[in-house]
Amino acid sequence: MLLGLVAAWEVAGRAGALDPLTWSRPSVIGLEAGRLVNETEFIWDVESSILNIAYGFSVGVAAGALVGATFSRAPTAIRGSLLGWLAAVQGIPFIVFYPVLLTVFGLTRMPIVSIVALVVFIPVTLSVAIGLSSISNEYLRLSRVLLLSRRQAILKIYLPAAVPLVFPGLRLGFSLALISTIGMEFIVASKGLGYRVAESYHAFAVEQMYAVIVWICAGAVVVNSLLSWIEGRLRQDAVTT
């Protein structure tokens, strides 16, 4: 069906039914997408976006894991109120703080990274706190019976048991990081894939704009399927063990 749509788009474009300045044509976009790969500026944009996501995601995950792990050992009432509060905070669109942070930090990587970290922090904290606290006591007893040291217990028992429980939070965090990074780059930035789309639009470089959009979508879909595949594998492991 997707192929059919692309074919129809191409035919309509060639027949002149669609304005070339608005719609371009798949064959032209394909060529342009191929050309972009060899362009250093485009590679820089890709690099910049990946770095934004990577920095923000790692800070968010580190902070979330720390806070989540701390609260997973807290009494149920305290953990419950933290989780309830975080679930409510999740509704806040942090991205609206972007212009404010821009005025503070200027047009650097900082505003994007901080907001991405914040956006990632919440689902990671939630899943770590819930995941770690729902590891059954059997495992705890097992680690005692096996006379494991604290380090061994964490590495050999807690981590493997926690990964399948925590992974959905990481996954959600990653997709949010990707979406918000591209979104912020798109609004105001000096480089990055989102910026390239906006820039091409302003410069009427329609083919380039479509080509970058195609690359972004392809990247997002590939990453998403990869994460789905990993999640499926983890779930299988969790069932068999």
């Binding site: 300045l21 608005t22 009432a77 419950g80 109120s81 989780l83 309830g84 509060w85 679930a87 409510a88 509704g91 806040i92 669109p93 991205i95 609206v96 703080f97 212009p99 404010v100 821009l102 005025t103 503070v104 997709s175 990707l178 979406i179 990074t181 591209i182 979104g183 798109f186 609004i187 105001v188 989102g194 789309v197 906006a198 091409s200 639009y201 329609v206 704009m209 479509y210 970058v212 959009i213 972004i216 979508c217 997002a220 879909v221 990453v223 998403n224 399927s225 789905s228």
Partner: protein
């Protein structure tokens, strides 16, 4: 969500108390940060900028423009997701084929489609509405499918046995059974639609909160910027809690 509800039932004062505590802490933090940097307006000057914005009408008219675009996009997305989710839930073949497609679609940063919409619809309201609908369709459809899948089979049989036509079964059984999950979808859909509208406006439009935000940012008017940001937050939190109230009412 259900977690916080059960908690507040057990210890009725704890939820609000913690909420107020956190709000006060956030306010103090805001005060502290605003006294450190000239770029962040203090709570006081933000408040007076909001009052000024309401008096002169620029803030209210911007909010009105954003909200009406959000509602239009939201309505469009609801209609599309209702049909789509029924199709995918009712037909297992279509469901199997298109659920991965739907999830891939959900993982895209939709905002990059905005320039295409701007070229097609122009910079008026319709491009914002289309953007809001594109973004909101995903959470709404996913939750509606989840809700429809959770409708007990016996209810459906019951509906058929009591001689309901296909349409009446859909209206009375499917919709009622899927309602709790649907409301979650509507809440997430509203939030994302509103955000999509504001971001689209920031990028380029003729009116709305995003336009006001971009203008304040461009003219380095920090109090005004802060006022628009706070207004945007308030509206999205308000919409969120209104739908959440309906959810809770339905739960009990």
């Amino acid at each position: 969500m259900s977690l916080s509800v059960s908690l507040s039932r057990r210890v009725p004062w704890q939820g609000p108390l913690l909420g107020t505590g956190v709000a006060i802490a956030a306010l103090l933090l805001w005060l502290l940060v605003s006294s450190l940097t000239p770029y962040i307006a203090s709570p006081g000057s933000t408040l007076s900028a909001i009052a000024e914005g309401v008096r002169s009408g620029f803030l209210t008219s911007a909010a009105r423009a954003s909200l009406s675009a959000t509602l239009a996009g939201f309505a469009l997305a609801s209609a599309v997701s209702l049909g789509l989710s029924y199709m995918l839930a009712a037909n297992s073949f279509l469901g199997k084929v298109f659920t991965p497609v739907l999830h891939s679609y959900g993982s895209l940063p939709h905002i990059i489609f905005l320039p295409i919409l701007l070229m097609v619809f122009g910079t008026g309201t319709s491009s914002k509405v289309a953007m809001a609908a594109l973004v909101a369709v995903f959470p709404m459809t996913v939750n509606m499918i989840g809700g429809l899948a959770a409708v007990p089979r016996t209810w459906l049989k019951m509906g058929r046995v009591s001689g309901g036509s296909r349409l009446r079964v859909i209206a009375k059984v499917h919709v009622r059974g899927a309602l709790p999950s649907m409301l979650v979808g509507l809440r997430l859909g509203f939030g994302s639609a509103f955000l999509a509208v504001v971001i689209s406006e920031f990028f380029g439009s003729d009116s709305g909160l995003g336009v006001a935000m971009a203008a304040a940012y461009g003219s380095l008017d920090y109090a005004k910027l802060s006022a628009v940001v706070v207004m945007t937050l308030l509206i999205s939190l308000l919409g969120n809690s209104v739908i959440r109230l309906v959810e809770r009412r339905l739960d009990t």
